[in-house]
Every structure is written in C-alpha cells, then in structure tokens.
C-alpha cells in the first residue's frame, strides 16, 4: 500500500470529520471569488458609467477580505491539525517516518484544498450573479444580470488560494517535525494551570475602558480631538483592545473569585461547574474572546456606520437639497422654455416656483469663532439676502420666519453636510463686509441651521436687514436664481432630463468660467447619486460584515467543539454523579452562551460608544439604524449559537 493509498483511505474514511475543514475552506474561496467577480463584472462597471467609484472601493474591500480570510484559513487549519495530533502520533508509533507523515499530511491538505477551491469557485459563479443583482438593487439601478463566466477572477482566486493552501500544507507537514511523539499524544490532555486573577489588572481594565469611553463621548467638544483626530482615535482603539483583553483575562476571573466567597450562590451546582470551567480556561479564553469582541465591534461599527449613512442621507437629503430644481435665471427665453416644460409635466405638478436674488459679497471673518463652510471656497465671500426674501422662502418651505432683524445685525444661515453645528455659534462676533472701499461691521445674532440652495458647494448665507441689504447692494451684480418644488420629486427623473437638456443647450455653451450658481441642480439626480454611493457602501460593508460574522461564529464554533471534545469525559462524570441528560444539556448551553454572549456584549458596548461619538461629531442621528443593525447582527449571531449548541450536545451524547 503506497502513501497515496493511505491518504485516500484516510480521506474517504474520515470524511465527516474533514467536512468542517472543507466547509470553511470552501466558504473562504466562495466569498473571495464572489467579491472578485463583482469587481470584474462588466455589467456592473457599465452600470456605473464613467463615474468609476466602484473600482477602488471594491479593491480596498477585497484586500481587507483577503487579510481576514488568510487569518481564518490559518485558524481552521490549526484547529484541524490540533484535533488530529493523536492520529498522527499513531502513524509515527507504528513506524512511519516523519518525512513520510509530513508528506502524507501535505498531500492530504492539497487534495482538500483543491476540492474546496473547485467547489468554492463553482458555487461562487452562482452566488456572484445573486450578489450582483443585490448590489444593483440596493444602488437603485434596474438591470437584469446575466450569467457570465469571466476568466480573470477565476485565475486570481486560484492563484491567491493556491499560495495560501501551499503555506497551510507546509505548516501541517512541519508540525510533525516540530513535535516530539509524546507531545502529539498529550496534545489533548494538557491541563491549564489556574491563574490567580489580579484585582489590579481588573481595575486597570475598567480604568482603560472607562478612559476610552469617556474620551470618545467627550470628543465632540474636545480641542485635542479636533486637532489630532487620527492620533486620538488610534490611541482609543488600542486602549479599548487592551482593556477588553484585561477584562476577559482578569475581571472575569475576579468575578468568579468574588462569587467564590459568596458560597450561597457559588455552591449552586450550575454556578460551581460553569464558573470554575470558565476560570480554568481564562488564559486561552482571554485572547480568543478579545479577538471575537473586537471583530464584533468592528463589524458593528462598520455596518452601523454604512447603514446610518445610507438611511440618513436618503432621509435627510431634503435638508441639503431643499428644492426639486434650482437654476440661474439668465434670460427670459430660457426661463419661459423651462416654465413650459414644468407646467406640462403631468406626474410632477408644481408645488411652488419662486425666483429670488442674492449677492456675493466679500467679508472678513477673522473675528468668527468657527469659519463657516464654503467661506474659503467662495474666495472669502458671503451670500447675502434681505430679511424679506428669507421670510418669503421660509413661508414656502414651512420654515420659521424671522420677525425682526435690526440694522447692523445678521443671522447666519447654512448647514454642514457632515459635522455638528451649534445654534449659538459665532453669536456676538462681527463680520466686516467690504462695501465700496469701506468696511461695514455686521454683528452675528443667531444661526439658522438650514439650506436655501441646491448647490453641491454652498456659500455661507447672511440674512440682513432690508436697509442694510440695500446699502451693500451698490456696485454688485446680484444673482437671480429660480427654485422649484414639484410633487413626487423622488420620481422626477424624466422631467429632470428634459429640463437639463434645455438648460445645458442654452447656458453651458456660453460659459467661459464655471461657478456653482450657474449650474442646473435637481433633487432627483442627487437622490440617485446618493443612493448609488451609499448603496455601494452599505453593500460592501454588509458583505464584509456577513463574512466577519460567519468567520467569528466559526471561530467560536471551532473553539467550543474543541473544548467540548476535551470535556466529554467530564460531562460523563457528571452524568454518573446523577445529572440527567436534560441537565447536562442545560449545562452545555450555559457554557456555550457565555462564550457567545460575553464578546457580543463587549462588542456592542464598544461599537455603541464609538458610534455615538461619531454621531455627535457628525451630527447625524444614529439611533434607529444602529439599533436595527445591532438587532439583525445579534439574531444572525444567535443562529450560530444554536448551531454550535446542537453540535456540542450531539458530541457529548455520542
């Protein structure tokens, strides 16, 4: 019987045991291949047209994915080999040389790898069609995706995985060379010494977590965060990871320790067994639970953030793009042509149609506490409108009118796309407007956090007393702009197209320079764009989130199975001592749920704090989307718990 026969026999006979390993390899191939396929899909690339923003996002994500998959494949391989040490030991015992065993393991791993590679790519072909459709759907693009076979992603996947699998195959065959025979037999029987939990480290854990939470929650009005965001953020992340590790390492041990002194609770048999088991595995638990809680946290932050952006941008787009259309009134003829199209529109009747004028005026903003967005973009100019105009617009848009505004005073108006603003910002400060060579001081008395433009970049607006406006008007050509609101603006694409054609045909050829106010702006185009950008974002993050979840779940799954195998005898002892099967099941469930719940809770804790800090800084409401995300994540995670528990129980009873 040659070595190959042994390898094949081994494979055939133990297929069940190999299944988990093959499944995780196949899963990795499948995920990677699907992702790379999306990257190279012509139909998707076409759907995006010239705006080639999908490429870089997908490339970045695929690199992240690769790193993650590499860790996962490595972990699965280690798990697989560790569980076979005894078998390998027997081969050695009956006289196979180390080289032979090493070669056997190498061949075997290569066979498994090639098998998973084939199955993974095959399944990936099907999945990539499904995911393409999902991506386009989320991005709001209607397109039927065809089944295509593209060679590039196949080649790329094969190369990447062959390399990875060669490495793991070598790792496996090296194990036999590294270990003494006796180690291979004792692999499963190593008793971990019980570490004495240190209350200092436990306190330190709470200290570190407390500091990072406090710092994150105060990032909003902290000078240090304002100037050193990157540095502070990295620092906080390191503190969080270190704190979590200490938490799992010592604080949980300390908790058991404290409980041990409360004998009434400790001597409850369930507590006695569960907590001592927890304590006995602190060393190995600490690292893995930290890794998992960090992964949980990262997934939740990434997905929560992406979903929030998607959810909020579409919900709050009207705050930034308040009108269905805005364009400059440059001549009577064009204006009438546009009106004709607008009035003829059946699906999108006009809700309001106004024309207003404003001035761009230079002003010194040195005295201001925070320089408003757009100030430098518009070459240190402000847009000025008289109070009457504002009130006319406010009336149409259902906004709060301003009753009085004294001479020499101004209320500033503007809304940041990202970044928080304060109602009383700059109040009491002075802006000097340049007026015919002299400077006119204007005092800021208030702020309106809203927008009166559709422009992509918006100037900061000063609402002035009507008399002041008249004064500064001299010598400046006002800009006349028309704003229209139509019904059902989310579905006004065709109307937009008509209007744009007319506008561009008439205005743009005459332009010798470009300024934001000269363009044509629509809500529907902005909406489409936002949906496609944030749709892509949520798809990529969702995809990564799903992969992270699966991998995290699998790592706990592997860990639990390894431990349960080690603990089989212990459960048998408990059965002998008089625990019924039902109670042993309960005990396993308790053991498993702790391993799942602890890192989930810590992960949710970290991600909520980070997201709430982000929400404060960016002034975006995260609560609803993040709650939705967390619930969805926890449910999927719960599914993993159930699978793991079922397998563990089967393992103990077999």
């Amino acid at each position: 019987m040659s070595l190959y026969d042994v390898v094949l026999k081994n494979l055939k006979h133990n297929f069940g045991r190999y299944f988990i390993y093959i499944a995780s390899l196949t899963f990795s191939v499948l995920i990677y291949f699907t992702f790379v396929s999306l990257q190279y899909n012509d139909q998707i690339a076409d759907a995006f047209g010239r705006e080639d923003k999908i490429g870089p996002v997908l490339t970045g994500a695929s690199i992240l994915l690769l790193v993650f998959i590499a860790i996962f494949v490595w972990y699965s391989n280690t798990f697989f080999i560790r569980n076979r040490k005894q078998e390998i030991g027997i081969y050695a015992l009956v006289g196979a040389t180390k080289t032979e065993i090493g070669r056997m393991l190498f061949y075997e791993n290569m066979v498994l790898s090639l098998l998973s590679l084939g199955v993974g790519i095959g399944l990936g072909q099907v999945f990539s069609v499904f995911f393409s459709m999902m991506l386009l759907k989320i991005m709001g693009i209607n397109l039927v995706v065809h089944f295509t076979v593209n060679v590039i992603p196949i080649v790329q996947t094969v190369i990447v995985f062959l390399l990875m699998m060669l490495l793991t195959s070598f790792q496996g065959s090296r194990i036999i060379h590294r270990f003494q025979l006796i180690d291979l037999f004792q692999a499963k029987n190593k008793v971990q010494s019980v570490v004495k939990p240190s209350s200092i480290i436990a306190l330190l854990a709470f200290g570190l977590l407390g500091i990072s939470y406090w710092s994150l929650l105060h990032a909003y009005d902290s000078k240090s965060w304002d100037t050193h965001f990157g540095r502070n953020f990295s620092g906080v992340i390191i503190l969080l990871v270190a704190g979590s590790y200490m938490l799992f390492h010592s604080a949980s041990g300390l908790f058991v320790h404290i409980l041990q002194n409360k004998k009434g609770a400790y001597y409850k048999w369930k507590n006695l067994i569960t907590f001592t088991q927890l304590k006995s595995r602190l060393k190995s638990n600490a690292i893995i639970l930290t890794v998992i809680s960090v992964l949980n946290g990262v997934t939740l932050v990434a997905f929560g953030f992406a979903y929030t952006m998607y959810y909020n941008t579409l919900q709050t787009l009207e705050d930034h793009v308040p009108f269905s259309y805005q364009f400059e009134v440059t001549g009577e003829q064009l204006n009438e042509e546009m009106s004709a199209v607008l009035t003829n529109s059946k699906n999108n009747s006009i809700l309001f149609d106004e024309t207003f004028e404003y001035l761009m005026i230079s002003g010194k903003a040195d005295d201001l506490e925070t320089i408003p967005g757009g100030y430098y973009y518009f070459e240190q100019q402000f847009a000025a409108i008289p109070l009457a105009t504002y009130n006319r617009l406010a009336d149409q848009m259902d906004r709060q009118a301003i009753s009085t505004l004294a001479e020499g005073k101004t209320i500033m108006l503007g809304r940041n796309f990202i970044g928080s603003q304060k109602e009383d910002g700059n109040v009491g400060r002075t802006i000097s407007l340049a007026m015919n060579g002299i400077e006119k001081p204007i005092h800021v008395v208030g702020n309106k956090i809203e927008s009166i433009f559709n422009y992509g970049v918006q100037p900061s607006v000063l609402i002035l007393n009507d008399e002041d406006y008249k004064q500064i008007q001299e010598g400046i050509t006002p800009i006349l702009t028309r704003i229209v609101k139509v019904a059902d603006q989310e579905n006004s694409g065709p109307l937009t197209e008509q209007l744009r054609t007319i506008y561009e045909g008439s205005v743009l050829p005459e332009l010798d320079r470009y300024e934001p106010h000269m363009d044509f702006y629509s809500f529907s185009e902005n909406n489409e764009k936002a949906q496609s950008i944030y749709g892509l974002l949520i798809f990529v993050f969702g995809f990564l989130g799903l992969v992270f979840l699966t991998a995290t779940g699998s790592i706990i799954y592997f860990k639990m199975l390894t431990e349960t195998t080690e603990d089989r005898k212990r459960y048998q002892t408990l059965r002998n001592l008089g625990l019924s099967q039902r109670k042993v099941k309960k005990l396993i469930a308790r053991q498993t749920i702790i391993q799942f719940l602890l890192p989930l809770i810590v992960g949710i804790g970290h991600s909520s704090i980070i997201l709430s800090a982000l929400s404060h800084v960016m002034d975006i409401n995260f609560v609803t989307p993040v709650i939705i995300c967390t619930i969805v994540y926890s449910l999927l995670y719960g599914g993993y718990y159930r699978i793991t528990l079922a397998t563990a129980i089967k393992l103990v009873n077999s």
Binding site: K263, I273, T276, K569, N576, G578, L579, S580
Partner: protein, 255 residues
C-alpha cells in the same frame, strides 16, 4: 439486616441480531446494609458490566434490580438520574475528578446537586475529609495532588451525601501499594463506623481481602462466593488466591 440491593436474573447481551455476544448470564445478587462486598474474576468475565448495570449507568437486557426496595429497571432518564444522585456513590479507577474544581469543590458536588445549605455543605466536607485524611489539600486542584489523594477525594465525594450504596470500580487499579492500603483502610473505617455499604469490583486479591464477602464471576455467570467471617485477613487473601487459580486464566492477574 435490611436488603440494600437485590438483583435477579440479570442478563446483558451486546451486539446486533446476527452477532450476539452475551456478557452476563442470569446473575443474582443480594447485598445487605453495612456490607463490604467484592466482585472478582478474570478479565472479560463481566465484572465492570455488572457494576455499571447496578450503578444504573448501563441497562440490563433482562432481569430486575431493586435498590432500597425500589425497582430501577424501568425508570426513565430523569428519575433515574435523580435516584443515582441521592442513593449511589461512585469511585472509579481513573478517579473522574473535575480538573477545574478544587478538591473541596469536587467533594461537595453531590451536595450542591441536592441544593444543600452552605453550612451543611461545609461541615459535611470537613467531616468526610478528616475521615479520609485529606483536610490538608482541600483548596488544591486535582493536578496538584497524588493518585492516592485523588482516589480518597473520589471516595469522599462518593460518601458525602450518605448514599445507600457505594460502588467502586477497580479503585486501587492505578495506585501504589501504600496508597492502596490507605484507601482500603479508609473503606474499612467507613464501613465499620458509618455503616456504609460498599460494592467493589477488583482483580486484585489484596484489595478484595479487605471485603466481608467476595463474589467470583466467570464468563458472565456467578462462579462462587467466599465469606471472610472471623478469618485473619492474611488467610482470607490466601483463600482468594487459591480460588482465583482454580478458576484458571486468572493466575497472571495478581502479584
């Protein structure tokens, strides 16, 4: 004397329809309160199978078992576990201690299962630990103790809840002779001072010589029975060895 255990017509057959393999054949056994009974026999005679069946861990193919007058053969898992927990104590060759629990925690486990009060648990642990001479190692973990200490811990765990019957499967199998003697002496003390009923499976004639009565099994059936009576332990030992030799196949099993 009260009957603690009464087994009638115990049969055990392993295997599937085509390949039946009988292990026990019509075994009857009666044990009275306060007895220290040994079961001996060559390898493969069915000693451990019999013990497992009496311990309710395994089920007989035929026959009935009554412990304290209660028929346990038809019981389902839940009541059976409950029964095992309150009425039986176990000692195994490989100790079966839980690694992650201290010696104290291992001993008190049966009382924790029975939801006893903390004060009761603590005083009980001290009591059995002093009888078995392991007070000094209560806060240690099993891996920090010797084989003999582990086995005495297992013995303490087996008797802490005052079971009607303690079942020991080759308890001295992994111990050196000094530790074996300590353990067997402890059994005698428990048996004499606490009226603990003990059923011990062993292939070691020396261990068996501590019993009041030894039952021999051969090929799944009862072979004979020796009672110690007023004999010296040394003489009882010689008798046991002679009987074993006469059974054949057992010669190599004792030293």
């Amino acid at each position: 004397m009260d009957v603690v255990l009464q087994a009638r017509g115990i049969e055990k057959v392993y295997g599937t329809k085509t390949n039946l393999f009988p292990v026990l054949n019509e075994v009857d056994l009666t044990i009275h309160k306060g007895e220290f009974v040994g079961i001996m026999g060559p390898s493969g005679a069915g000693k451990t199978t019999l013990l497992n069946i009496l311990a309710t861990i395994d089920k007989p193919t035929l026959g009935s078992i009554q412990i304290n007058g209660k028929d346990i053969t038809g019981l389902r898992d839940e009541p059976l576990s409950e029964f095992r927990r309150t009425n039986l104590g176990f000692i195994f060759q490989d100790y079966n201690l839980l690694d992650s629990l201290t010696i104290r925690e291992n001993i008190l486990l049966p009382l924790a299962f029975a939801n006893q009060a903390v004060a009761t648990i603590d005083s009980k642990v001290e009591e059995v630990a002093s009888v078995l001479g392991i007070q000094g190692i209560l806060e240690k973990y099993p891996y920090q103790t010797s084989g003999g200490q582990k086995q005495r811990t297992a013995a303490a765990r087996a008797i802490i809840h005052n079971p009607s019957l303690v079942l020991a499967d080759e308890p001295t199998g992994a111990l050196d002779s000094k530790s074996s003697m300590d353990l067997l002496n402890a059994f005698n003390v428990l048996n004499r001072d606490f009226q603990t009923t003990i059923l011990m499976v062993t292939h070691d004639a020396f261990a068996a010589s501590y019993c009041d009565r030894v039952i021999f099994i051969k090929d799944g059936s009862l072979f004979t029975e020796l009672v110690k009576g007023d004999k010296e332990r040394k003489r009882f030992f010689d008798q046991l060895v002679t009987t074993l030799s006469s059974m054949g196949g057992g010669n190599h099993e004792f030293v």
